[in-house]
């Protein structure tokens, strides 16, 4: 704690602790059973279009891949994982981003049927509690618990098929790259199916819920697919009147088989021949989330709770590219990435009534967070030899001089204290005060302090109008990546017969490193127009400061660069949400939700002399320009040619019920995002074209530059800058509830049959298959950062409750 002398800080903290109050409640909650579920694995597909401000970008149709998840998130690198919100299960942080090794989505380790609701936390007075972990919002997944009764058995299953509608290979991003080979691997009819069985019950002893799930999605690329099996338990046990324990466990096995065709960028060792049928890319994950919460209620006003959580993922990948794909060479690689996240969160909760009108709900606690990630990989190449099968050649390819082996280990510890004071004045006003301090093993300057204050006022009583207003202000942070400030010694090369390794300094430790500061202001108004209709408008403004970047040093320094901190970005926006229950009669009901979010990100300041830093690609951007601007050369001038982020996005949902039939649909849309579609043909070595980019008929005059492994400059032409706006029929379901029909059968209490479709229709002017198929607004000519076609699917399903 360097901000203040230790003694002052402690006194202040103690003072605040004893002033203080209460549990904060999440602002938005999505009850999962109330929305259309998705045929695709991954919770984000269920949330898509249902939460104002939560942007889910379906960039890839590969089953098991994670869509981009962003909730008011921004970072210098817009594709960076740190723009993701913090994701928790029952309040316990989990590993939520896919590993680079297998790319399997950790949000697919459980079935949507297991989830009760998802709390969406966006406002600073609610986020500050999570400090440095949740500058870009948080999602808290609350799992279903057992319901009162001795035993219930619920079974559900669905099965159906994937298909590519009107698949025009000329529109596919992969077009022009071994076209025939790729066409051969796309196929309709890949099966998608899921089976779940859940047993639950509850009583004075507590409650229990356990079950298992199986999910398979074969996608639309032949020979590939994703599968997941999970076992889970969610149990509460009341040991005594005061003391209760809550166990949660979810163990999942996930697998994803990939194909070269359709999944890998075309930089992977060419030329490619045939349809690449024998290409092995097997990905296997094991995902475990386990938590145990102990609660002790000392008195009606005083409670202590402690939650220990463990999130583990073991990811392994085996890959083999045979000689008929690599034209005479074989390649084999194997990698394993094991990640673990251990958290212990202990808190004291105290309720105090100052008077009948003024109450205090106070929580203070600490959180320990320990991550430990270990990567091991080996790969080898060998040119074709006579004799033996392909497989034998791979094995012989693994020898010392042809194999690269790598093993690395990352550890991180975070220790935090937090205090939450919630003052409640009558039913009208709530004031949230939050203070959190995070100490990280990452930094020399270990401690950061995150305060926040929020006021929520309900005007119903005082002004007799059904309006609630709120405003909050505060600060959080983002942990800078560890490799940035630790410094690194680099192994240089074998020495004398290959048995001694030289070590040199790649870059020195950056001792002034600290986390990125994020300042946030929120204001909102919620209006209940009448009993069946309400809307809310929220505004936020976030300022991000002090990113770490590299400054290139003059070439007499002996090292290439050093680290510095600086730069500032801004993100602001409006979110609008409308809920309506237009008709609510016994035989007929109709309800709707409309949400829209309009965000704007901008550069506030950039480091001085940016051309000598690794942010040189942002040098064209001046104050006020969007960070997500697409930048390219025209002639010799760099200019902004678009913005990869949409001006507005959101969803529209409608649910209709007539007697036992109900129909729901969710439309998603994004408006105003530009896509820079790189040309497959206008790509040149600069020295071959006299360092002047040749213009091509029918293509834009824009191009980007890069450098190949030999240091030659490459010009990559941009075919056109396209409008990526779209509206999509994201999810639609029709169900029939047989409830009354089976009433006579005592053992069956409920039967529902449903038909559900995903991504059945997309309206867009975009020339390709999916306007969101890029990760960062650029459809790359080498297909990197570019997804496979998004498939449609239709399934038939059944739910039974015994």
């Amino acid at each position: 704690m360097e901000l203040l002398p230790k003694c002052i800080w402690k006194t202040m903290f103690l003072f605040l602790v004893f002033l203080g109050i209460s549990k904060v409640h999440a602002q938005d909650t999505l009850v999962v059973d109330s929305v259309v579920l998705s045929n695709r694995s991954g919770l984000e597909n269920v949330l898509q279009g249902n939460i104002a401000g939560l942007r889910i970008k379906s960039w890839s149709g590969t089953p098991g891949a994670q869509s981009i998840i962003n909730l008011r998130g921004l970072n210098l690198d817009p594709t960076d994982q740190s723009t993701m919100p913090l994701i928790m299960i029952n309040g316990v942080p989990i590993i939520s981003s896919p590993s680079n090794v297998t790319g399997i989505n950790p949000l697919s380790y459980f079935s949507s049927d297991q989830i009760e609701r998802v709390e969406v936390i966006k406002e600073i007075d609610l986020l500050a509690k999570y400090g440095v972990l949740a500058a870009n919002g948080a999602l808290n997944i609350i799992m279903k618990e057992g319901k009162t009764g001795a035993i219930h058995v619920r079974g559900s299953a669905f099965g159906g098929a994937n298909f590519l509608q009107d698949m025009d290979h000329q529109k596919d991003a992969f077009y022009n790259f071994n076209t025939s080979g790729r066409r051969a691997v796309y196929g309709n009819g890949g099966i998608v199916n899921e089976q779940n069985i859940v047993v639950d019950g509850g009583g004075d002893f507590g409650s229990y819920l356990f079950g298992l799930t199986n999910y398979q999605d074969k996608g639309t690329i032949k020979g590939s697919g994703f599968g997941r099996q999970s076992l889970f338990l969610n149990a509460k046990y009341n040991i005594s009147k005061e003391f209760s324990v809550h166990f949660f466990n979810n163990l999942a096995l996930a697998n994803r088989n990939g194909r070269y065709a359709g999944e890998f960028n075309r930089d992977l060792l060419l030329p490619v021949v045939n349809d690449e049928s024998f290409f092995m890319n097997k990905n296997r994950n094991i995902g475990l989330v386990s938590s145990m919460a102990l609660n002790y209620q000392f008195s009606p006003k005083f409670k202590i709770s402690s939650v220990a959580g463990l999130s583990y993922e073991g990811a392994s990948r085996d890959m083999y590219v045979p000689s008929n794909v690599l034209d005479g060479n074989i390649y084999a690689a194997s990698a394993a990435y094991k990640r673990q996240l251990l958290t212990v969160n202990t808190s004291l909760n105290y309720l105090h009534d100052f008077s009948d009108a003024l109450k205090l709900d106070m929580t203070i606690g600490n959180e320990l967070r320990n991550t430990d990630n270990r990567l091991t990989s080996v790969d080898g190449k060998r040119s074709l030899e006579n004799g033996g099968s392909n497989y034998v050649k791979v094995v012989t390819g693994y020898n010392a001089s042809q194999t690269n082996a790598f093993s690395d280990h990352e550890m991180e510890k975070l220790f935090s204290f937090y205090g939450i004071w919630k003052f409640k004045y009558k039913e009208d006003m709530t004031v949230n005060m939050v203070l959190r301090t995070d100490g990280s093993s990452f930094y020399e300057k270990k401690w950061a302090l995150y305060p926040a204050l929020g006021i929520h006022y309900d005007l119903k009583n005082s002004l007799k109008i059904p309006v609630k207003v709120n405003a909050s202000i505060g600060k959080t942070g983002i942990l800078n990546k560890p490799e940035i400030y630790r410094g690194q010694l680099e192994g240089y090369g074998d020495y004398f017969g290959g048995n001694e390794l030289g070590i040199g300094l790649l870059y020195p430790a950056f001792q002034d490193a600290k986390s990125i500061n994020v300042y946030q202001f929120d204001a909102g108004v919620a209006v209940d127009i009448n009993r069946s209709m309400n809307f809310s408008v929220n505004y936020f403004n976030k300022i991000y400061k002090d990113f770490i970047y590299q400054r290139y040093l003059p070439n007499i320094n002996g090292i290439d660069y050093q680290y510095e901190m600086g730069g500032s970005l801004g993100l602001s926006g409006f979110e609008f949400n409308l809920d309506g229950k237009w008709i609510n009669k016994r035989d007929f009901s109709w309800s709707s939700n409309l949400n829209i979010a309009a965000y704007k990100n901008k550069v506030r300041t950039m480091p001085a002399d940016i051309n000598n830093t690794n942010l040189v690609h942002l040098s064209t951007l001046t104050e006020g320009d969007a960070l997500t601007s697409l930048v390219a050369y025209q002639g010799k001038q760099l200019k902004i040619i678009g913005n990869s982020e949409p001006k507005a996005f959101g969803g529209i949902s409608n649910t209709l019920r007539y007697k036992n039939i109900s129909a729901s649909m969710t439309l998603t849309y994004a408006w105003g995002a530009d896509v820079s579609a790189e040309s497959f043909t206008s790509k040149y070595y600069a020295d071959n074209v006299g360092n002047d980019f040749p213009l091509k008929n029918g293509e834009s005059p824009y191009y980007t530059t890069s450098t190949d492994a030999n240091g030659r400059t490459i010009y990559q032409g941009i075919r056109q800058v396209e409008d990526g706006s779209f509206i999509r029929l994201n999810k639609v379901a029709v169900s029939y509830n047989f409830g009354s029909m089976f009433k006579r059968m005592a053992s069956i209490s409920d039967v529902v049959v449903f038909v559900r479709g995903d991504n059945l229709l997309t309206l867009s002017k975009y020339s390709g298959v999916n306007p969101e198929e890029n990760i960062a607004g650029i459809r790359k000519s080498d297909l990197s950062f570019t997804g496979t076609p998004l498939s449609s699917s239709v399934v038939l399903g059944l739910k039974l409750v015994f």
Binding site: K6, F302, G439, E500, G502, P508
Partner: protein, 430 residues
């Protein structure tokens, strides 16, 4: 239960927030902030890093020979930028030539050497014993001395990368003077023979690490460059005596696998480096014993060097010693003694060097250095030292040489963000 009873609990929780008790253990990683260099082996890794950097500086783009015989046309290198170098088109817009004008790797050696000196100074007796302390310090000083010496001979005036005068422009004289100071210190520290991990004197190890022979050769070269021939003469005579004869070693770069793919594993490979046949016949006339150093192909019209040891790329061979003795003696006014050493050095020469005079000695010595040290990259440096650049690189007039033509132009990277400027010759070529 009263609320105040919990004050001690809360206070205890808070007291544990002392920074000291929360300091998290050092991570088991590559952090260099502190604690990495806790054994002799680890310090040695850093020393070896300096050799790897030197290897990169000299072998990337065949730099050592581009700065030497490839520039004078004595050797051809089968790469597409050789012609530009041989034609003295050193400001041409070609990637490899541009890299050759960049001195980054040499400064990497200096940085590495200075780091090693810091590490050695900070290391306590438990980490380094006296032998290793002297050895590593000596090697670091030698590497630094060699790097500055190359810098001054290739580019002329160069900036200092020392803490006390970082970025200050050094004249050639200043660079080489400080290089000689470090070499003198290193000479007192380095052993004749290195001891390997088994505690045995190892000739193989000695041949790829700085040793007493190598540092003495380097120091002699530097003294001669500075015109301090008497110092060189005294030092050589003091160092090399009858008793030390058996301890003499070569020194070269260990050639092996490098993480950087552009570093050739076989730098003198016959398919890459060769001498044009007419040049070969001119330098080594029929009957000269040194023709045996080559494989001659009349059909390809080239001669290629026979590599004795593919693991080593020689930089300071022991065979240079007599040449250095000869030069030091002659330049310090001992012509007869110089001739004796030259005869001793030039094994296989047809010429009768006993008849040399003050006027003819320089040419003969220069020619013998050319013959004996071929492939070592010293040719242009020798021409500068002997004042013969315009004779052997006829594209340059004496006036061009005065303007700095013999030195390499500075790369764009070297000129960026500092007060350095191109010398007047290369400025006129831009």
């Amino acid at each position: 239960m009263k609320f105040w009873k919990f004050i001690p609990i809360v206070a205890l929780t808070l007291l544990s927030s002392c920074k000291d008790s929360l300091t998290i253990d050092d991570l088991e990683n590559r952090t260099v902030a502190s604690g990495y260099y806790n054994s002799s082996q680890r310090v040695e890794q850093a020393v070896i890093g300096g050799y790897v950097n030197l290897r990169r500086a000299l072998l990337a783009n065949y730099a050592w020979v581009m700065y030497g015989e490839a520039r004078t046309g004595d050797l051809n290198v089968a790469v597409n930028y050789q012609q530009a170098v041989a034609n003295q088109q050193l400001t041409v817009d070609q990637r490899n030539v541009k890299q050759l004008t960049d001195w980054g790797y040499f400064y990497d050696v200096i940085k590495d050497a200075n780091d090693v000196l810091d590490i050695v100074n900070k290391a306590d007796a438990g980490v380094l014993n006296t032998y290793h302390r002297n050895l590593y310090k000596g090697e670091a000083l030698a590497l630094k001395s060699m790097a500055y010496f190359y810098l001054a001979r290739i580019w002329g005036e160069v900036p200092s990368a020392e803490k006390n005068n970082f970025g200050l422009r050094l004249t050639i004289q200043e660079s080489v003077t400080q290089a000689a100071t470090w070499a003198t210190e290193a000479q007192g520290l380095l052993p004749w023979l290195h001891i390997n991990d088994d505690g045995i004197e190892s000739y193989a190890l000695t041949a790829v690490r700085f040793n007493k022979t190598a540092i003495s050769s380097l120091l002699a070269q530097e003294e001669l460059w500075l015109g301090k021939s008497q110092n060189a003469y005294d030092m050589l005579n003091k160092t090399f005596t009858v008793t030390t004869r058996d301890s003499i070693s070569n020194f070269g770069l260990s050639v092996g696998v490098d993480r950087r793919t552009e570093i050739p594993k076989l730098p003198l490979d016959e398919s890459i480096v060769s001498m044009p046949l007419d040049r070969f016949n001119e330098i080594y006339p029929a009957g000269d014993g040194r023709r045996q150093m080559f494989n001659v192909s009349t059909s390809d019209k080239k001669a290629t060097l026979i590599t004795q040891n593919a693991d080593i790329m020689e930089l300071l061979p022991a065979r240079e010693l007599n040449l250095l003795f000869a030069e030091a003696a002659w330049r310090s006014g001992r012509l007869e003694e110089g001739k004796t050493y030259l005869v001793k050095a030039a094994v296989g020469a047809k010429e009768d060097y006993t008849a040399l005079t003050e006027a003819t000695f320089a040419d003969a010595l220069l020619q013998e250095r050319r013959r004996m040290l071929v492939g070592g990259g010293q040719r242009v440096f020798d021409l500068i030292r002997f004042g013969k650049v315009s004779t052997y690189i006829p594209v340059f007039t004496e006036s061009d040489v005065q303007k700095g033509a013999a030195y390499w132009p500075l790369s764009a990277n070297s000129l960026k963000n500092n007060s350095l400027s191109q010398n007047s010759y290369w400025l006129s070529k831009n």
